[in-house]
Symmetry: C2
Subunit: 200 residues, 2 copies
């Protein structure tokens, strides 16, 4: 008894022209991460893809039980993530990515990525998954899909210390035309790079 | 510049006889979840698969900054998970599962699964992912791989209210012979059910 989604449309029908005017996230009071989350909610609600943001990893030290019904965490600390923030499945493909934004205009600071995350992306590639990053240049209102391969190569060559020039990102990545709904249609890049067949 | 794993062996070489004596987790002071985590660490360290447990979802209400270096969460609450606990990639396949144990001997209580998780598993199947549950009967020291399809069907037929009889689990699932290392070799079931090709 399969669960029915409200919208039976195929992805192709939902696709929008790539030339849509870019949406300036900052001006609408939403940051890039929220835009990605909204995009994933759209994909999920329409049965297009199942992509979730992992919860923030927290080390829980002390929990109080003031009422039986609801435990209260009274001491906890943020932990460094060992993987990327987003993962899920799209038409049989395992997707794994990180979404980051910068105010800089000429390069993207690699300190946004931890060594663990870079290693994780390489491990995902080795397993036949699709790993990438979504980079948003807020001041330029430009958004890029950058495959993990050139990012990892640049990161290892510079030991994670440098910023990646936007010229290199443009050369190795793909611009995403942001729009109203879904806001950051990154799956269109996947469609253009991989053979995507509707499994439903 | 691909990252090298310490062990270049292929999965086939690492596979162990299926008739290994079952390991009794309880007696070694480890619960089933820890055994699954240890199994995933083994798979990761040997470059066999990249499977991670998602962090516990926590709603953070208040954070203090006693020192600049380390933020302290002083009020937070557990949130219900909207997905399953485990996901990752194995030779191009998206895997998604939940691991649960029970002390019961004749059936598995479905209250262990939330409606959201059942819906999530159906969405994963619709996207061509592999969804399943690992069920451990602690008193019987029996462990099963149960595909999501029969679980979802039983859950929807009984509105999540009933327990699933062990006879049905044995009929629709696959026994996993637990062992020392890796402790719960559930990928062997995947190997027997799907066409697995080494992507490396």
């Amino acid at each position: 008894m399969p669960i029915k989604y409200p919208n039976g449309q195929s992805f192709k029908q939902l696709a929008v022209p790539k030339k849509a005017a870019p949406v300036q996230f900052g001006k609408r009071g939403m940051n890039f991460e929220s835009e990605i989350n909204a995009t994933n909610e759209y994909y999920l609600a329409h049965g297009i893809a199942v992509i979730h943001k992992k919860p923030t990893p927290v080390q829980i030290v002390r929990v109080d039980y003031p009422q039986r019904s609801r435990a209260k965490i009274t001491e906890a600390y943020f932990k460094q993530a060992s993987t990327t923030d987003y993962s899920g499945v799209y038409q049989g493909y395992y997707l794994d990515f990180e979404a980051k934004e910068t105010q800089q205009k000429t390069s993207f600071p690699l300190k946004n990525f931890h060594k663990h995350q870079i290693e994780h992306m390489q491990a995902v590639l080795d397993q036949g998954g699709i790993a990438f990053v979504l980079l948003h240049f807020a001041s330029l209102t430009e958004t890029y899909y950058l495959p993990a391969e050139p990012l990892i190569q640049f990161y290892l060559e510079h030991e994670g210390l440098k910023s990646m020039p936007i010229t290199l990102i443009r050369e190795n990545g793909y611009a995403i035309a942001t729009q109203q709904i879904p806001r950051v249609p990154y799956l269109e890049i996947i469609n253009s790079l991989y053979e995507v067949t509707d499994h439903r």
